[in-house]
């Protein structure tokens, strides 16, 4: 008799469940199982998934020893043992997950992958065992762990034993976190229930493919509970990305390349001082007398210039292999803060910065560079990531301030800023801060507690905007230029006050006149700071950082500026 599998294998054309087009099967295969008509990502059989991601012939399958258990002697319409046998026959695997060692682009790793075809990708003790053994092996070998999930949830037929797999797997990956080992979780379509609520969501990096469905409770259950229609795209990877719960949604075509890049960024993260690149930019200025004297209000205008280079532009000029990461893992993806892994020469760093735009539309998308709590929580999450892996942190500060909104307050803007300030002060990795444009108060400081704090020549840093100060203290918004001068918010004064360690020169007319030169100077400054900091022990770094900020406002230690005569004109 012809089996269904044989019938499927004979199919020359496959109907796309999304656009309903008939797709030539080999064309679909060539396209990695992505519909060429509508980009729908078909679910992949586990072996095909591994073949697409891993170096050819590199997978050493260690999962043969894992056998499922039937702790309850469970039976529904048929005994669980019989279901297991049928699933084993159908998939050729003894359980619903494989694990072993492999390489991606030559980078060694331990991998575990779930098979949705095995009892709906449900997690019973066999799956939990495979994931746990993979995590333990990664720990033993000190190698990154990649887990590929595809699951409907816990396996009911194993009762509470299957529920315990959530704890068993979670504690195994917790040890990886404690030991500073990289854990990448690739969540494929679908990942639900007990798997999403345990190891699958615990990766350092959470990656998925477009259109994958990921969630805890199924959409029908939610609809029937809340008696509301759910929004279009609910629980898709895009939805999760927008809500800050994934780092990346990567099309299948570039998935392997991205994973390889991430592994390489981690494999070479210990480049040290020798790994820093040679630079061509002008050296930062530490003597305030060498800085040109300019009207502070004019500098405020330059700092706010809409053509001024923004964080992503500086990052593209200064760093290589930038891998942007998204989300706060709590509520939202805030585009007012960007960040990710990048290379500076051979050194892997974490870059985090406020992001504005040049056009009104870009500005609106980035909320004019004014982060919500989610932005700060994303920034902090990325800095924690850097601290875990011993990566230096570079922050680029350019914000008028934290967003003053109702939702921001409801979701704890103050808490988000406070925690960022506090945790930055204790990270055991070098932190270099550059104010590239506007340094607006606490919203700026939330990314600005570092070992070295520098600013671009035409930027400002202030406890309040000149307009705000003018309105409050001078009772007249029109007095903003006067307030700008009085607040001593520009480079020479901040250098004298020791708020800044150095000033980065800008091209004639401002950074926007020649962004490339501005970026070269920025790069030179960052490299010069990291040369001094990389190699300093973590204890020393934290102690010096403490002293740096301890000094501010301490009598007889804090420098005091000469009184400024400002007229009302």
């Amino acid at each position: 008799m012809t089996t269904p599998k044989a019938a499927a294998e004979q199919a020359q054309w496959t109907r796309c469940p999304s656009c309903e087009a008939f797709v030539y099967h080999k064309r679909l295969k060539r396209n990695l199982g992505v519909c060429p008509e509508c980009n729908h990502h078909f679910r992949l059989p586990i072996r095909e998934r591994l073949a697409q991601l891993l170096d050819e012939g590199s997978f050493d399958d260690l999962s043969q020893q894992i056998q499922p258990v039937d702790p309850l002697g469970f039976a529904d319409s048929k005994p669980y043992a019989q279901r297991l046998e049928e699933a084993q026959r159908k998939t050729g695997n003894s359980e619903g997950a494989l694990y072993g060692t492999a390489t991606i682009g030559g980078n060694p790793l331990v991998i575990a992958a779930m098979d949705f075809a095995f009892i709906g990708g449900s997690m019973g003790s066999g799956v939990g065992e495979a994931i746990t053994r993979a995590a333990e092996l990664a720990l033993e070998r000190r190698e990154p762990l990649l887990v590929i999930s595809a699951s409907g949830g816990a396996r009911m037929q194993e009762g509470c034993v299957s529920l315990m797999q959530l704890a068993k797997t979670s504690q195994a990956v917790a040890r990886l976190h404690e030991e500073g080992l990289l854990y990448i979780s690739l969540l494929t379509d679908p990942t639900y229930g007990g798997v999403s609520a345990s190891f699958a969501m615990l990766g350092d990096l959470l990656v998925s493919e477009p259109g994958s469905y990921i969630g805890f409770a199924g959409p029908k259950v939610i609809e029937q509970t809340i008696r509301q229609k759910l929004p279009e795209g609910f629980q898709t990877a895009g939805f999760l990305l927008d809500h800050g719960q994934l780092d990346l949604v990567e099309p299948r075509e570039t998935l392997r390349v991205s994973l390889r890049k991430i592994l390489e960024l981690h494999a070479t993260s210990g480049g040290g001082v020798d790994g820093l690149p040679k630079t061509e930019g002008a050296a930062p200025i530490t003597d305030p007398e060498q800085l040109p004297t300019r009207d502070p209000w004019e500098i405020v205008q330059l700092a706010r210039h809409t053509d001024r280079p923004n964080a992503l532009e500086y990052i593209s000029h200064v760093f290589d292999d930038f891998q942007q990461l998204y989300g706060d893992r709590l509520f939202d993806e805030d585009a007012a803060i960007v960040g990710g892994l990048a290379k500076l020469g051979d050194l892997t760093v974490m870059v985090v910065g406020h992001q504005k735009g040049h056009t009104t539309q870009e500005m609106m998308e980035r909320n004019f560079g004014m982060p919500n709590p989610e932005g700060y929580r994303k920034g902090l999450r990325l800095m924690r990531y850097a601290a875990k892996f011993g990566l230096p942190i570079v922050t680029l500060v350019d914000t008028p301030g934290a967003y003053p909104g109702l939702g921001a307050e409801e979701r704890g803007q103050s808490i988000a800023i406070a925690e960022s300030i506090m945790e930055m002060s204790r990270f055991r990795v070098p932190i270099v801060v550059i104010v590239t444009g506007e340094g607006g108060s606490g919203g700026a400081l939330a990314l600005a507690v570092g070992d070295r704090v520098l600013m671009m020549e035409n930027s400002y840093y202030s406890v309040i905007s000149p307009e705000g100060c003018s309105t409050i203290l001078f009772k007249d918004a029109a007095q903003a230029p006067r307030a700008a001068a009085a607040l001593r918010m520009v480079a020479p004064d901040l250098l004298r006050l020791k708020i800044m360690d150095a000033i980065i020169p800008e091209p004639e007319g401002g950074a926007h006149e020649n962004p490339l030169v501005a970026a070269q100077n920025l790069k030179a400054a960052i490299v010069s700071c990291l040369r001094e900091l990389v190699g300093v022990t973590p204890e020393e770094l934290v102690a010096r950082r403490y002293d740096r900020f301890r000094m501010f406002g301490t009598p007889d230690v804090q420098p005091v500026l000469p009184r400024l005569e400002i007229t009302n004109d």
Binding site: P4, K29, K220
Partner: protein, 292 residues
């Protein structure tokens, strides 16, 4: 050193191809082609190996092969295959037409031709080509599966049902074929048969959590006949196997029909119909397995 003959190189290349060593096969074929650039067998192997290796020159070799040997149906089919692989549908169709003209019983090419006709908006031609394929090889599964789909696309549900029944007779374990029979009976308002087919689907589809889809089909058949009590029994039963709460609203609707409105508003009939249609679509999607 003795020179390797073309025949030896072909045999070696063929063995490598059959063994899955496409790089080795291509190398051996190209070596042979250096001395015998018009050897159609070597050209075909070079093209097929390039295709497997995803190299851009596959169609080039296969085009040369059909130029050398224009009466070789296999060579035309291989060229058509490579052209479709590249997404060149019109060129591919021409190649398959050649293959079928040379060998009218080439069912594989006929199925491809049918799909290509459909892709260019000629669904009637697609159906006739598939019928032709089945005349040549009754019971060809690929042709039957495609015929079910094409009849459905064309709205010829009776014919689609007949083809689906044939498919079920040939592959009783094929869940997708069973889904087709059940759905088509439902679409044709043959509600008794539809209920039976969904009942039978319950036995065929033993995937965990799939039983609920068969229940939904049975409930739909009962709702259409307005057999509320029977629908209620089925809905209550369905909740037993429904892990994800897909049946709750359906049950609420049926309860309202049987016992009258309660204190919680029941969903509208249109919402229930939508939910049942979505359930069928989801079930179908779960069985559209991709065997790469």
């Amino acid at each position: 050193m003795a020179k390797t003959s073309t025949s030896d190189l072909f045999e070696r290349a063929l063995a490598l191809y059959n063994g899955g060593d496409f790089e080795g096969c291509r190398e051996a074929a190209l070596q042979g082609l250096r001395e015998h650039p018009k050897d159609s067998n070597l050209l075909r192997l070079a093209g097929k190996a390039s295709l497997e290796l995803d190299l851009g020159d596959a169609t080039e070799y296969l085009e040369q092969a059909v130029n050398v040997e224009p009466d070789n149906a296999d060579a035309w089919r291989e060229l058509g295959d490579a052209l479709l692989y590249e997404g060149r549908l019109e060129d591919g169709e021409r190649a398959f037409q050649q293959a079928v003209e040379l060998r009218p019983d080439d069912v594989v090419s006929l199925v491809d031709l049918a799909h290509l006709a459909h892709a260019s908006g000629r669904t009637d031609a697609a159906i006739s080509t598939l019928e032709q394929a089945l005349e040549r090889e009754p019971g060809n599964l690929a042709a039957l599966r495609s015929l079910v789909d094409m009849y459905r696309v064309a709205g010829s549900l009776e014919q689609a049902l007949a083809a689906a029944r044939q498919l079920v007779a040939l592959t009783p374990d094929d869940v997708l074929a069973a889904v087709d029979v059940a759905e088509l009976n439902l679409a044709l308002d043959r509600l008794e048969e539809a209920a039976d087919a969904f009942h039978w689907l319950r036995d065929v589809d033993d995937e965990p959590d799939h039983e609920v889809f068969a229940y939904h089909g049975m409930i739909e058949a009962e709702l259409r006949r307005e057999r509320w009590r029977s629908a209620l029994d089925l809905a209550v039963d369905a909740t037993r196997v429904d892990r994800y709460g897909r049946t709750t609203d359906i049950l609420a609707f049926v309860v309202a029909q049987v016992f009258g409105a309660g204190d919680r508003p029941a969903p509208a009939r249109s919402e229930v119909d939508d939910a049942l249609a979505a359930s069928r679509a989801e079930h179908r999607q779960l069985h559209t397995a991709l065997v790469l």
